[in-house]
Symmetry: C2
Subunit: 211 residues, 2 copies
Amino acid sequence: MSSTLEKARQNPDSMKAKIFLAAKKLFGEYGFHGTTTRMIAQEVGIDISTMHYHWGDKRDLYEAVILDLNERIQYKLNEVEKNVKGESLDIRLEVSIEEMCEYLFSNPCISNLILFRSFTKTREDSSIDKKVPEYISNIAVAMGLAIDKQNITVEAKARVLAVVNAILNFISGENFFREMLDITHEEYVRVVKDTLKFILIPAFSKDKIKN
Amino acid sequence: MSSTLEKARQNPDSMKAKIFLAAKKLFGEYGFHGTTTRMIAQEVGIDISTMHYHWGDKRDLYEAVILDLNERIQYKLNEVEKNVKGESLDIRLEVSIEEMCEYLFSNPCISNLILFRSFTKTREDSSIDKKVPEYISNIAVAMGLAIDKQNITVEAKARVLAVVNAILNFISGENFFREMLDITHEEYVRVVKDTLKFILIPAFSKDKIKN
DNA sequence: ATTTTATTCCATCAAATGATGGAATAAATA
DNA sequence: TATTTATTCCATCATTTGATGGAATAAAAT
């Protein structure tokens, strides 16, 4: 757990933490360019200069948000892995889908931010965007697609990416998709979990028999 | 085929079409807020006012791009459907994945724009973003998940969304993912196709036997 | 050739946006 | 309480950004 995460957890009522949370939410919804410093300040109910006082410039704040995000997702995945250790792959997938959905649905900005990073360019190129997330390798090992973290085939990584993205997509796309499906949030959560299980489990199932 | 698409095809060398293409590319890469009118003008090599002369304001241009995109994806899907008509679902999926990948990899801005629409908010809310794409229903029918277009269950639509997003993700995320996988574009295309088939076919396979 | 129309760019504006200095205020410390 | 330190906001700046009027130029029509 690094300093960013620690600080935000240290005192969630601190102004610095409040600004951070507002930024996380807005960057997730509107992206880097879509979010203005004034939007963040207004969300917290403060002046922009107070924001600069605590976090420096917009880019610094954004990078802190991205770092925090990587830490949190890594932490959560480790947690899930512990919960499913020893089970069959089918069960592990099912439980992991369930738990990750619960987590991400209650923290939608996490998946928003990850997708933003993967799909969009930023005008000023930032070094932070080049950092490759490590959790993909961890998942590959946890799913039995590789023996050790250092030696993972391209195919295995690609399969993990497909799994991860399938989940993230449904979380981040809720507003858009739910309007298409015309259902409540609760129904959406249920449908997403079922759909993910339907799509993902057969591919990795050992007995190769579906349903 | 509506006027937007026709016009762009009418004379691809016309200034209006050139501006349109540049806008499509840049909106796909940077999103609405990430793209400035000056970036578009510079890409074409003209003045901003020439852009305004042909397309009105930025929002008009963006909405034209979105409309065009819906028409193209719809058109392509109909084309693919014709090619696979009568085959088994397994074969249809395999061929569709192959053809859609070919198409989208050579027109990456299409998947970029679709994902942008699904995942991000725009500060000014636009009516265009509310329009629900019809192609999801068409695919559901084509995949045998529903009998007619008017009567499609939520589950069926959700499954189609999962399939479509799985494909779009890999196309739009190429830059990011390819750096992780450390492979060439050609290798990436191959891996993506194989991974999509690996993930998607077993879920829908009638004989429920994988490989 | 002359007139009309269409196209393009230069100069410029107004608003939005990121950023900062310094005064005002609150909190902490001595 | 007096002094120092930390925090917050107001006023303001410079730049970016979307947009426009009008001159200059090219193309078309007469």
